[in-house]
């Protein structure tokens, strides 16, 4: 079972003369352990794809399944629960609540889920340890570097048993070295079994993914295919 499965997904905005097909006929799956990057010019539908994949926005047509559950066939409460428990989000900015420590930020989605504070904190510390930040657990966001903040956001996206991470330009404001740390981390979380769908305009970051899909005018125009082996480097030599 794919962690994310989108079939025949379209999303229109507006109507009549102002009708825009933000997405058309998208078929995309992300398996457990798979890292998929989405590239395309601005306005190609990348961010819409991510919000539809995460159940934040309803498709005009087609089906979105997260861990086998048809997101838009669920009732509103069940859908919210699936979004909270099944999907983690990492955005370019506006990621962390400034008045909460790193650990409290990571605990937040679990507490909203009704998990007891003590258990939520234990899970948060484990998640922070996985991203190499357990020592910064009690610091506030403004005491952390940009790269550390983004790592906290990734810990929060993966805390609990969530296996789908949706990332929108997660390296946006970071320098190239820190951006690479984030890629290395996402890659590592995928190798450990998470599924990640990431929008980026930087091919150097997209290249960390197993598969890169290209969007243009809301359609998937091409993809690099499944993990090619290193022998492909030798072909041109």
């Amino acid at each position: 079972m794919s962690v994310l499965a989108m079939t025949g997904v379209s999303r229109d905005h507006g109507a009549g003369a102002t009708l825009v097909h933000a997405l058309s006929g998208i078929a995309l799956t992300v398996e457990a352990g798979e890292f998929v990057a989405v590239m395309g010019p601005s306005g190609s539908g990348k961010s819409t794809l991510l919000t539809v994949a995460g159940g934040l926005d309803a498709p005009t047509a087609g089906r979105v399944e997260v861990e086998g559950a048809d997101v838009w066939a669920l009732g509103r409460a069940a859908r919210s629960a699936l979004r909270r428990r099944g999907v983690g989000y990492v955005f370019q900015d506006l990621n962390l609540v400034p008045g909460l420590t790193a650990a409290e930020n990571v605990m937040l989605p679990r507490e909203l889920d009704g998990v007891r504070a003590r258990r939520a904190r234990r899970e948060a510390l484990a998640a922070l340890r996985e991203v190499g930040l357990d020592e910064a657990a009690d610091r506030f966001p403004d005491e952390l570097s940009g790269g550390q903040q983004q790592r906290v956001a990734i810990a929060r996206a993966l805390v609990g048993d969530r296996r789908l991470v949706l990332a929108d330009e997660p390296t946006g404001a970071l320098d190239s070295h820190t951006g690479e740390e984030i890629m290395r981390l996402l890659r590592g979380r995928c190798d450990a079994g998470a599924a990640c769908l990431m929008v980026t305009h930087e091919s150097r970051h997209a290249a960390w993914a197993d598969r890169v899909v290209f969007l243009r005018d809301g359609r998937m125009t091409d993809a690099t295919g499944d993990r090619p082996g290193p022998e492909s480097l030798l072909r041109g030599a």
Binding site: M39, P41, E180, E181, R184, R187, E202, S203, R204, A206, A207, W208, A209, V212, F214, T221, D222, A223, T224, G225, P228, P230, S232, L233, R235, G236, A237
Partner: protein, 207 residues
């Protein structure tokens, strides 16, 4: 190789004289790759040997007009349809291919760009996989040196993809207004000679 394919791409638009090919090649590639006339004629004579072009006649000064053959047409379409592997690119064949794609009628430039971008991203993925397999900061000096070489290849591949993105946007912007330039048509070649080409190329062509 790109001079060869560049000349074929120009000839696919109609028969041309050697000096004409040189001028058009240079203007198509923004004069970033100057050719001397000798290179043009030696390339033409190899193309003729390989039956990709044929000589169809001469003007009063004895200059030959070259015409692409059906085999040559296939060759040039195949060139446009095949991505260049990073590594066997002696000069920047890619930019020449794009320059020729823009000026050759019937070539889907967006598709040429996308085919190349997918291939470039694949090699970028392969390079990144090599990098990901090693620690973020290798302890060993020689490992670190290799990392820098690897990064250089990664950044070059990235630059290529960014440039392709730019080409795509540029071509898309131009598509609305631009029409084929009139007056660029080649001279209509003299009646094609049906007899086989002379076995030896003239002296001029072997320079």
């Amino acid at each position: 190789m790109s001079i060869r394919h560049g000349l074929l791409a120009l000839l696919s638009q109609g028969p041309r004289y050697g000096y004409q090919l040189r001028a058009e090649f240079e203007s198509s590639t923004g004069s970033t790759w100057p050719l001397n006339i000798g290179q043009v004629y030696s390339t033409l004579s190899r193309l003729e040997r390989d039956a990709l072009v044929t000589r169809v006649g001469a003007d009063e000064e004895g200059r030959f007009v070259y015409r692409i053959t059906a085999e040559g047409e296939r060759e040039v379409r195949g060139w446009f349809g095949t991505p260049i592997a990073r590594g066997d690119r002696p000069r920047d064949e890619l930019s020449i291919k794009l320059a020729m794609a823009v000026t050759t009628p019937g070539v889907d430039v967006a598709q040429v760009v996308q085919t190349q971008r997918t291939a470039s991203l694949r090699s970028l993925q392969d390079l990144t996989r090599l990098k990901a397999a090693a620690p973020a900061l290798p302890a060993d000096q020689s490992e670190r040196a290799w990392r820098l070489v690897l990064e250089s290849m990664i950044f070059q591949a990235e630059a290529e993809v960014r440039w392709l993105d730019h080409c795509e946007a540029f071509v898309a912007r131009g598509a609305s207004g631009a029409a084929p330039r009139p007056g660029d048509a080649p001279p209509e070649a003299p009646a094609p000679a049906d007899e086989p080409a002379p076995p030896a190329a003239p002296k001029e062509a072997r320079r």
